[in-house]
């Protein structure tokens, strides 16, 4: 699997490097110009050309992220629809190894793109607004790494990563299913409709799981709470309710308690594993090149 990942990286790094450089370039443009429209902390405002410049930079960053997403999706799709699949699927690899490699490399690029963009923008903001004093810059970096990472942040990051992996796997599954069921290669966009339908079904079933198994787990002390007792248990501190995708059923209170609906959590994990094995099965046993 590691060997295959090596060739995945070799085949994608040029494009992803260009994406990262585009984001860095556009972020620099945004921040440097953005900095100029403030004079002595008062807002001067951009001229029409400036507005156009800011818009272009913004679109460049947005476009770069979207391009990266479609590139990652396209890299999987090409294996099923283009001649390169003859090489990939004649290698002595299982479907799980091919899918696992593609998913891990996609996650690696996504993580790298997001981390580099955030860290670069943070450092640039400090450098521009705080004056380019290197001692301050290093202090800022030290501050960044000392930033208190509490349970809530870790939970949100883990939930987002899990949600990202599930979505990516569901996209891969939709592409594979579309390839297996619709032999006409010209109807290539069908995977997106399959994805939307499956995503809706999974979201609906996740909500059903919350209702079917109305028990919550307090992640701070591992107490199990009935749904009917939830309001009393949490008092009036229900601050933020995570209700997106696979994180449905997670409740984070303003005093940083996290409770997780056991039914939906189990359902989400089983679904993600099921999608992985389902996609592996399709690409190993059902794809006809």
């Amino acid at each position: 699997m590691l060997k295959y990942m090596k060739y995945e990286i070799k085949g994608t790094y040029r494009f992803m490097l260009a994406i990262i450089l585009t984001v860095i370039g556009a972020s620099t443009g945004l921040q440097v110009y953005g900095n100029k429209i403030f004079v002595a902390d008062s807002y001067v405002g951009p001229n029409p050309t400036g507005i156009l410049f800011l818009a272009i930079m913004g679109f460049l960053i947005f476009g770069a992220f979207i391009s990266a997403l479609f590139y990652i999706i396209g890299s999987f799709r090409k294996e099923l629809y283009e001649d390169r699949g003859y090489l990939t699927f004649s290698l002595p690899l299982t479907g799980k190894q091919i899918l696992g490699s593609k998913t891990l490399i996609a996650l690696m690029w996504a993580a790298l793109l997001i981390i580099i963009s955030l860290v670069y923008n943070f450092i640039l903001a400090i450098a521009l607004h705080g004056g380019v004093v290197f001692s301050e810059l290093f202090e800022a970096i030290r501050y960044l790494f000392r930033f208190k990472v509490d349970n809530v942040i870790i939970t949100i990051i883990l939930a987002s990563i899990f949600s990202g992996i599930t979505t990516l796997l569901l996209i891969y599954f939709s592409i594979a299913l579309s390839r297996v069921t619709i032999k006409n290669k010209k109807i290539g966009g069908m995977w997106f409709i399959i994805f939307l339908v499956l995503n809706s079904i999974i979201s609906f079933l996740t909500l059903m799981a919350v209702e079917a198994f109305p028990f919550y787990l307090d992640l701070s002390n591992f107490n199990i709470i009935r749904a009917s007792e939830l309001t009393n248990y949490m008092g009036y501190n229900m601050g933020l309710i995570m209700s997106t995708g696979s994180s449905t059923g997670m409740i984070i209170t303003s005093d940083k308690n996290i409770v997780l609906n056991i039914g939906s959590a189990l359902f989400s994990i089983i679904t993600a594993i099921g999608i992985f094995f389902g996609t592996s099965y399709l690409i190993e046993r059902k794809i006809d090149l």
């Binding site: 060997k3 090596k6 060739y7 070799k10 085949g11 040029r14 001649d83 390169r84 699949g85 003859y86 090489l87 699927f89 004649s90 290698l91 002595p92 690899l93 299982t94 032999k183 190993e284 046993r285 059902k286 794809i287 006809d288 090149l289």
Partner: protein
């Protein structure tokens, strides 16, 4: 029951695309150590058969065994496959393709690969994308023949290449074929390839309509395999 003398056993193999039958109850056994030509015109089912053997296409009915195993990861490690198209990744240089074969196939012989590269006049730093059709075909064949595989499967190795490249490819196949291995070659260009074959199988509408030892067929029919091909399909 699997016969250990056979590298390939095909029983009642059927592949249908909707109502169209690409393979129709096809039966064929290939003995170890033989070079077998699967001969037939375009659309006769040659490539469909090959793809099922390699494990990139699923049969509708029937059974296929390669060295006693159903096509899968196990058989992919002992089969060296040349598809009828350029299958290397577009971003690759010749060097990358060689590295990939080295990484994935324990039977890859780099020394043999270097000899073949020299014979084919290919350089390691050439980009796959910038090669002509003939050069790509030569590179693909170089990679496939550089393995010491139990079974080589070559799908139309000389289709669409110029006469000079064709002769080079034929020489490469003859000179680099492993004695103890088996080879399946599909082609409709019989004249250029018939000297290579130990056995031939004529395929039409997804069925084997004639098969046998190439030399014996020549003697029995008083004609070359190429003439026999023309008589059958002409």
């Amino acid at each position: 029951m699997y016969d250990v003398d056979n590298i390939v056993e095909i029983k009642n193999l059927t592949k249908s695309y909707g109502r169209k039958l690409a393979l129709d109850n096809l039966n064929l056994n290939i003995k170890k150590g033989k070079v077998v030509g699967i001969l037939g015109p375009n659309g006769s089912g040659k490539t469909t058969l090959i793809k099922i053997l390699v494990g990139i296409l699923r049969q509708t009915k029937g059974e296929v065994l390669i060295n006693g195993y159903k096509p899968g990861v196990q058989t992919k490690s002992i089969v060296s496959y040349l598809p009828d198209r350029n299958f290397l990744y577009e971003w690759m240089k010749v060097e990358d393709a060689i590295e990939m074969y080295k990484d994935f196939y324990a039977d890859f012989d780099e020394k043999k690969c270097d000899d073949l590269l020299q014979f084919m006049r290919l350089e390691r730093d050439m980009k796959v994308n910038s090669l002509s059709k003939g050069m790509k075909e030569k590179l693909n064949l170089t990679l496939v023949l550089s393995r010491k595989a139990k079974l080589y499967i070559l799908d139309e190795p000389i289709a669409g290449v110029d006469p000079v490249a064709r002769d080079q490819i034929l020489d490469a196949i003859i000179n680099n074929y492993e004695e103890n291995s088996s080879m399946i070659i599909t082609t409709h260009l019989v004249r250029y390839m018939e000297k290579i074959f130990d056995e031939v199988a004529f395929i039409s509408d997804g069925k084997i309509i004639l098969e046998g030892n190439a030399e014996k067929l020549r003697e029995d029919k008083f004609m070359q395999i190429d003439d026999l091909y023309k008589e059958i399909f002409g």
